[in-house]
C-alpha cells in the first residue's frame, strides 16, 4: 500500500508543488491570491500560455523539438487582424484570416523541418526573426487600436468580456455557477458511462477508489473555481477558449492515432517509421498545429490589449516552453501530457501574480521564474534517476 502512495506522489509531484506554492502565497498575501478577482486575472492573464503550451507540447513530444518563432507569430498574426479590422472588414473575417495565417506559418516551418530536415531550432529561429520583422512591416512600426466591440467581447478583451448572467440578477452570477455544476455533472456522467461500457464488454476496469478520489478532487476544484468566478463578474469569455483548447488536446494526445504517433516518434523514430508510420507527417502536423495555436494566442493577445503592437508576444515562446518542461514534458521527447502543462502554466502564473501582489521588484520576478524552471527540471531528473 505504501508503495502505491509513493507512486501517486511521484505522478503528481508538480501538482503538489502547485498546492504548496498557492498556500505559501495565501499566507504571504494574507489571502489576496485567492480572491475572486485574482482568480479571474490568473485565467485572463495566462490564457495565451495555456494555448501556446498546448501547441508546444506536441512539438516537444516529437523529440524535444521547440518552436522559437511562436512569440513573433503571435505578434504577426495579431497585427494582421488589427489592420484588417481597422479597414472595417467584418471581425469574423479577421479571425479566420488570423487563424489561417497561423496555419500557413506552421506549414511553412513544418515543411522545412519535416521534409527538408532543417533542425527545428534553426528553422524556428529564422522564423523568430522573420515574423518579428514582418509584424513591423504589417503595422508599419505603429500600435493599432481595435475597437470592434464584438471581437473584443468574444475573445476576452475590453471592460465587459464576461458571459452575461441570464438567470440571476443578484450579487452572485448564477449562470456561472450553473455552468460549473453542469460541467461537473458531465464529467461524472462520462466517467461512469465509460466504466459501464467497459464492464459490459468485459474489459478490465481501473480500480474504483482511485478513480473516485480523482473525480472528487477535480469536481471540487472546478466547482470552487466557478464559485469564485461567480462572486466576481462571471465566466470570462477567454476561459471558454482555453477550456476548448485544453479539452481538445487532452483528447488528441490521449485518444487519437495522431496523438499516439507523436509519442512514438519521440520515443523511437526508427521503430515508428518501420511500423508503417510516416514520421514526416507527424512533424509537419506538430508544427502546423503550433501555428494554429499561435494564431489563436495572437487573437487572445490583441483582444486583451484592445490593440496590436510590434513588440507584442516577446518571449511568449519561452513561457510556453517553460510551462511544458515544468509540467513534466521530457526534453528528449515522448513524454508529457496536457494535465502537466496546465499545472506548469499555473505554477508560473501563480508565482507571477503572487509576487506582484506581494510587491516584489519586477526585476527579481524574472530571476525567480528562472529558478523555478531549473528546480522543476532538477526535480524531474532526480526522480527519474531513482526510478532506475
Amino acid at each position: 500500500m505504501s508503495a502505491k502512495i509513493t507512486d501517486v506522489l511521484k505522478k503528481y509531484t508538480m501538482a503538489i508543488a502547485l498546492v504548496i506554492i498557492v498556500i505559501f502565497f495565501q499566507i504571504n498575501t494574507s489571502g489576496a491570491i485567492l480572491l475572486p478577482q485574482n482568480i479571474n486575472n490568473l485565467i485572463s492573464q495566462n490564457a495565451y500560455v495555456f494555448v501556446l503550451s498546448a501547441g508546444m507540447l506536441l512539438c516537444i513530444l516529437t523529440g524535444g523539438n521547440i518552436d522559437l518563432a511562436v512569440g513573433s507569430v503571435v505578434c504577426f498574426v495579431g497585427g494582421i487582424g488589427a489592420v484588417v479590422m481597422q479597414a472595417n472588414i467584418p471581425w469574423i473575417v479577421a479571425v479566420i484570416l488570423m487563424l489561417v495565417g497561423g496555419i500557413l506559418v506552421g506549414m511553412w516551418q513544418g515543411f522545412w523541418i519535416a521534409y527538408i530536415k532543417v533542425p527545428p531550432f534553426i528553422a524556428t529561429l529564422a522564423g523568430m526573426y522573420a515574423f518579428r520583422g514582418l509584424s513591423n512591416v504589417v503595422m508599419q512600426g505603429y500600435a493599432i487600436g481595435i475597437n470592434n466591440e464584438t471581437f473584443l467581447k468574444v475573445f476576452g478583451g475590453g471592460a465587459d468580456c464576461y458571459i452575461p448572467d441570464f438567470i440571476g440578477s443578484g450579487a452572485m452570477n448564477i449562470t456561472c455557477m450553473v455552468v460549473g455544476v453542469i460541467a461537473v455533472a458531465l464529467l461524472i456522467f462520462s466517467v461512469f458511462r465509460s466504466r459501464a461500457a467497459a464492464q459490459k464488454q468485459g474489459y478490465e476496469l481501473a480500480p474504483l477508489p482511485g478513480e473516485l478520489a480523482k473525480l472528487v478532487v477535480i469536481s471540487a476544484l472546478v466547482l470552487w473555481m466557478f464559485y469564485k468566478l461567480a462572486n466576481y463578474k462571471g465566466i470570462p469569455t477567454v476561459l471558454i477558449w482555453v477550456a476548448i483548447v485544453l479539452l481538445a488536446y487532452t483528447y488528441i494526445t490521449g485518444n487519437t492515432r495522431m496523438g499516439r504517433y507523436l509519442y512514438a516518434v519521440g520515443g523511437n523514430e526508427k521503430a515508428t517509421i518501420l511500423s508503417g508510420i510516416d514520421s514526416r507527417k507527424v512533424y509537419f502536423f506538430a508544427y502546423v498545429n503550433m501555428g494554429l495555436m499561435a494564431g489563436l494566442a495572437g487573437i487572445l493577445t490583441v483582444a486583451r490589449a484592445t490593440m496590436a503592437q510590434p513588440t507584442f508576444g516577446n518571449l511568449y515562446e519561452m513561457d510556453a516552453i517553460a510551462a511544458c518542461f515544468i509540467g513534466g514534458a521530457s526534453a528528449y521527447g515522448g513524454e508529457g501530457n496536457v494535465f502537466g502543462i496546465i499545472v506548469g502554466a499555473l505554477i508560473m502564473g501563480v508565482i507571477n501574480q503572487g509576487m506582484s501582489i506581494m510587491g516584489v521588484n519586477a526585476n527579481y520576478q524574472t530571476v525567480v521564474k528562472g529558478i523555478v524552471v531549473l528546480v522543476a527540471i532538477i526535480f524531474d531528473v532526480l526522480s527519474n534517476k531513482k526510478k532506475k
Partner: protein, 515 residues
C-alpha cells in the same frame, strides 16, 4: 596448475525483493581463461559488477579474495588499481573522439592542468600494436568498424595495467571473422600470463577458448567444468545452464502442409543509399510457400538485412529494381505502410533501435503497427487495445506483471516476444524474421521457435534470417545461402550440413572471377 588469483566466496547480493546472487562461489587460477555461462538474468553480470566495485563493499555479503588479500572495493577505480578491469557489453567509447582520447578518458596523460598529447598518442599507439591494430590512435572512433572498436576497448583495458581482464559478451556485435580474431587475441594474452574471465552466450566460443567453465543458474553457481580433464561439448554446457537435458533444441514441426507460393522475388537488386554505385543486393531470386520456413543464411555483411528492408517498403537502399509478387499479385511497395497493407511484416534484428519504443508500455508497442485495428476514425479504443495486448502476451507467454509494463524493463527474450506480437497483430501472410533469437537465452529461444512453428502451422510463411548455422538448419524447410549480396546456393534443410553451407560460401568468395 597455477595458483588461485581470485576467489569469490559465498557472495550473496539482494535487490529489493529479489535475490540476484545466492551464495555464489568462483575460483579463478592465474593465467587461465575462465568462462562464465548461464541464461539471461542468471546473475553473471551482477557477479562481475560485485567484483569490479560497481556494487560497493557492504551492499553484498561474502568475500572477494584477490592475490591472497581480502578486498573491499568501494568503486571501480579501486578494483582497477589492483588490475581488475572489466570491458562491458555495450562499448563505452565516444564516437566523435579519437582512439587515443578514448583510451585515456578519465585517465589522461600529462599534468593536472594540461594534457600531454604527444604522450597520449604515443602510449596509445603502443597499446594498439599489442592488440594487433595498425590504425594510428588519431583516428576517430566512428571511422573504424565495431570489430576494431572492441579491440580499442581491450587496448584501453591494457593501458590501465590489467592483470585480470573481464570481458562481458565481447563478441555480441562482431561478425564471425572479427570474433575469431578476438578470441585468438585472448589466447595470445593467455600465453603472456594474463588471466581472463569471459561472459558469453556463444557456446562455440566457450569451447574454443576456455580452460574452465563455471555455470551460473538462478543466482547460484551450479558447477565448474574443467576443459582439460574431459572434452566438454556444447550440449553438456546447455544441460548445466537449463538444469535439464535438452533433447531437441529445435521443436519439431509435424503435419504442416506446404502450399502454394506466397511471396516471390525476382532479380532484386539494391544499391547502397550513400555510395550509389555499390551494389548491396545483386539480382536475388527466391520464393516462400505457404506453411514454409525459409532460412537465409550468410555471414554478417552479406546483405540479408538490406535485402529484407529494401523489400519492406524500400526502407533501405536506392535504385531498387526487380519484381515482387505476393500471393501471385505483383506489388510495388513504396513505404512500410504499403508493405504492411500487402500483408508483409519485417521483424527487425535490432529490437531496441529499430523495433520497440522502449519507454512505452507493452500495450502501446503491440498496437503501434496496426493502430487501425484498435481505433475508429482516428480515435483509439484503449480498452480494446489493452485486451489485444493482453491476449498476445498470454499467447506468446510473455513474462510480465501487466501489459502496462514498460518494454525497456523486460528481458531480451520478452522484448522479442512483444516485437513478434506487434507484427503478428498486423495479420501478415509473410513474416521476415531478422535474427529472431539474437542475444536471448536458450529457454527463450526455444519458445520463439515454437511461435515460428505455430505461425507456419496457421498457413503463414516465414523467412528467417540468421547468422547461426544450427538454428538455420534446425528450423528451416529450405535454406538459401547469401554471400556478398548474391544468393549462392539453395538447398532443402534435409540436405544441409554446416560443412556444405560453409563450403558454398568459401567457394563463391574464392571463385568469384569464374562467373
Amino acid at each position: 596448475m597455477g595458483k588461485t588469483i581470485l576467489e569469490m566466496k559465498n557472495i550473496t547480493k539482494t535487490f529489493p525483493g529479489v535475490k540476484a546472487l545466492d551464495n555464489v562461489n568462483l575460483k579463478v587460477e592465474e593465467g587461465e581463461i575462465h568462462a562464465l555461462v548461464g541464461e539471461n538474468g542468471a546473475g553473471k553480470s551482477t557477479l562481475m559488477n560485485v567484483l569490479s566495485g560497481i556494487y560497493p563493499y557492504g551492499t553484498y555479503e561474502g568475500d572477494i579474495i584477490y592475490n591472497g588479500e581480502v578486498c573491499q572495493f568501494q568503486k571501480i577505480k579501486d578494483s582497477e588499481e589492483k588490475g581488475i578491469v572489466i570491458i562491458h557489453q555495450e562499448l563505452a567509447l565516444v564516437p566523435q573522439m579519437t582512439i587515443g582520447e578514448n583510451m585515456f578518458l578519465g585517465n589522461e596523460r600529462g599534468t593536472k592542468n594540461a594534457i600531454n598529447w604527444n604522450e597520449t598518442y604515443g602510449e596509445a599507439d603502443k597499446y594498439l600494436k599489442m592488440v594487433g591494430l595498425s590504425e594510428t590512435s588519431r583516428v576517430l572512433i566512428k571511422d573504424i568498424g565495431t570489430g576494431k572498436q572492441q579491440l580499442v576497448e581491450i587496448a584501453k583495458a591494457l593501458a590501465k595495467n590489467a592483470k585480470l581482464l573481464i570481458l562481458d559478451e565481447p563478441t555480441s556485435s562482431l561478425n564471425e571473422t572479427d570474433s575469431r580474431a578476438l578470441l585468438d587475441l585472448m589466447l595470445e594474452f593467455k600465453k603472456k600470463g594474463m588471466t581472463m574471465i569471459i561472459i558469453t552466450h556463444k557456446l562455440n566460443e566457450v569451447v574454443y577458448v576456455a580452460d574452465k567453465i563455471t555455470v551460473v543458474r538462478d543466482g547460484s553457481t551450479v558447477e565448474t567444468l574443467d576443459c582439460h580433464e574431459t572434452e566438454i561439448s556444447e550440449d553438456r554446457i546447455i544441460k548445466g545452464m537449463v538444469g535439464r537435458e535438452i533433447t531437441d533444441r529445435f521443436p519439431k514441426r509435424s503435419g504442416v502442409k506446404i502450399g502454394d507460393i506466397n511471396l516471390e522475388v525476382k532479380d532484386w537488386t539494391v544499391h547502397h543509399p550513400l555510395y550509389t554505385e555499390r551494389v548491396v543486393v545483386d539480382k536475388v531470386n527466391f520464393n516462400v510457400k505457404k506453411g514454409e520456413v525459409v532460412g537465409i543464411y550468410g555471414l554478417m555483411g552479406a546483405g540479408r538485412t538490406e535485402l529484407a528492408m529494401s523489400m519492406f517498403g524500400k526502407s533501405y537502399g536506392t535504385d531498387i529494381s526487380g519484381t515482387m509478387k505476393i500471393n501471385g499479385k505483383e506489388v510495388n511497395l513504396k513505404t512500410p505502410r504499403e508493405a504492411i497493407d500487402e500483408k508483409l511484416a519485417y521483424v527487425t534484428e535490432d529490437r531496441k533501435g529499430n523495433g520497440l519504443v522502449l519507454g512505452k508500455s507493452i500495450k502501446i508497442n503491440t498496437s503501434l503497427a496496426n493502430m487501425a485495428g484498435v481505433s475508429d476514425r482516428g480515435v483509439i479504443d484503449t480498452d480494446k487495445e489493452y485486451n489485444v495486448a493482453a491476449e498476445y502476451a498470454e499467447k506468446l507467454k510473455t513474462k510480465t506483471p501487466s501489459v502496462e509494463q514498460l518494454v525497456g524493463n523486460l528481458s531480451g527474450g520478452n522484448q522479442q516476444k512483444v516485437l513478434l506480437a506487434k507484427w503478428m497483430f498486423t495479420d501478415p501472410d509473410v513474416l521476415i524474421l531478422d535474427e529472431p533469437t539474437r542475444g536471448i537465452d536458450v529457454g527463450a529461444k526455444y519458445e520463439i521457435y515454437c511461435i515460428i512453428n505455430d505461425l507456419v502451422a496457421s498457413g503463414k510463411s516465414v523467412v528467417m534470417i540468421s547468422s547461426e548455422l544450427p538454428e538455420t538448419i534446425g528450423m528451416s524447410d529450405r535454406i538459401y545461402v547469401m554471400n556478398e549480396g548474391k544468393f549462392i546456393a539453395e538447398m532443402p534443410a534435409s540436405e544441409a550440413t554446416q560443412e556444405n553451407i560453409m563450403a558454398a560460401i568459401i567457394q563463391s568468395a574464392g571463385g568469384g572471377d569464374k562467373s
